[in-house]
């Protein structure tokens, strides 16, 4: 699954993907590592939408004990209600030392879940140009 973002900005998508990875490998631990993003960021050729993904249904993102959860929640707060933000922060904080299923978090958010899209739906709606070289 992929998630269409509330803000159609590639930079915003990269920031979310980066902060998701910082949950697993916080700053200070991941410094100097190549891996810096949880998932990819793609923009629709018409420029109106940006999505992140793939978000695997069965993948747990490990949450490091030193993860800066408020930093991640602050980044997504513009796309969710205050209550949803609190619930997401609580779920991730509770998962420190373990793992969190990002797709389940998204699906549990009424603001985010309608924006989930499959790869097939993206291909059918022109996300990946077929005629370009």
């Amino acid at each position: 699954m992929y998630l269409i973002l509330s803000n159609p900005s590639v930079e915003y998508g990269q920031a979310i993907s980066h902060e998701l990875w910082m949950l697993a490998r916080p700053r200070g631990i991941s410094d100097g590592e190549t891996s810096q993003f949880y998932c990819g960021v793609m923009s629709h050729p018409d420029g109106t939408q940006v999505a992140i993904g793939p978000i695997d249904s069965d993948q747990l993102v490990p949450v490091h004990a030193q993860a800066d959860v408020p930093a991640f929640v602050a980044l997504i707060s513009e796309g969710v209600t205050a209550e949803e933000a609190t619930a997401i922060e609580s779920a991730i904080t509770a998962a420190k030392g373990g793992g969190v299923n990002i797709l389940q978090l998204v699906e549990s958010s009424p603001s985010l879940s309608p924006n989930l899209i499959t790869r097939e739906q993206m291909e059918a709606t022109g996300w990946f140009p077929t005629d370009e070289v």
């Binding site: 697993a24 190549t34 949880y38 990819g40 793609m42 790869r119 140009p129 070289v133």
Partner: protein
Amino acid sequence: MTPVALEGFKTPLLNEYGGAAAAYSLRRLKSWDDGKRVVRVRRASDNSEKDFTAAEVADGTLVNWVGAGNDGFVSTWYDQSGNANDAVQATTTSQPKIVDGGVLVTGGIDFDGVDDGLFTVSNLTDTLQSATFFAVTKEDTTSGKACMVRIRPNGAPGTLDGFSWEKVTDDTYGPNTLIEGANGAVSATIAGQGTRNTSKNLNTLIYQQSQILAYENGALDATLNTVRSGSVPVGDVTLVDQLWLGQNFDDNARPFNGTMSEVIIYFTDQSANRAAIENNINNQYDIY
């Protein structure tokens, strides 16, 4: 004094055939220095990363570090040409796999055909008239488009310089296999050329001014000479893009599904050395 060849010691490929623009492999391609790293791996168990030499890949050090039953992913495939054109992938879900369930992947680095790929951080900038790609790959499928090697931004023929090798369903050389320069672009036919298969292959593409000579396993497989735009000779090719392996991350994807063992790129016509380089590669991988 003539150097004496010591039995059992092979001169690394790039020491014999220098001048590569970029060279990726899990074997040592250059110098006698066994301490040179060839790959950086992230292990999924704790997401830490570590560099490995060719010897450490071969002798089990890499697999032991990843751990029994665990997966390891390539975050950096180091360029052995000396040009620091390392191919990286900072997005963890797009990193190709090198250790699967505690076992070294057979055939090199495994791209998932969904979103895996590697690319240089910086653009390759150069002006040239020809190029040669050598690639050892094995596909899991013969359907769909697959961006194998690319140094060209996205855009219709006639708009952007560069080189590309892209497969399409059933064809080894899709119409987006091209060289484009200041005067025009030459490519495979629109219908595609070559018979795509799932065997391990050594493909050599020599991009010349009016044609692309495509060799498979040491034999000429196809001559690609469709003028896609402008006129031939195509003229100076001015490169201003990253080098992409296994997927075109500029935006149209086309992910490769299979393994890559080795990719060596020259920004020159290596026709004179082609057979010798192919023999060196084939001696390593026993392809044909």
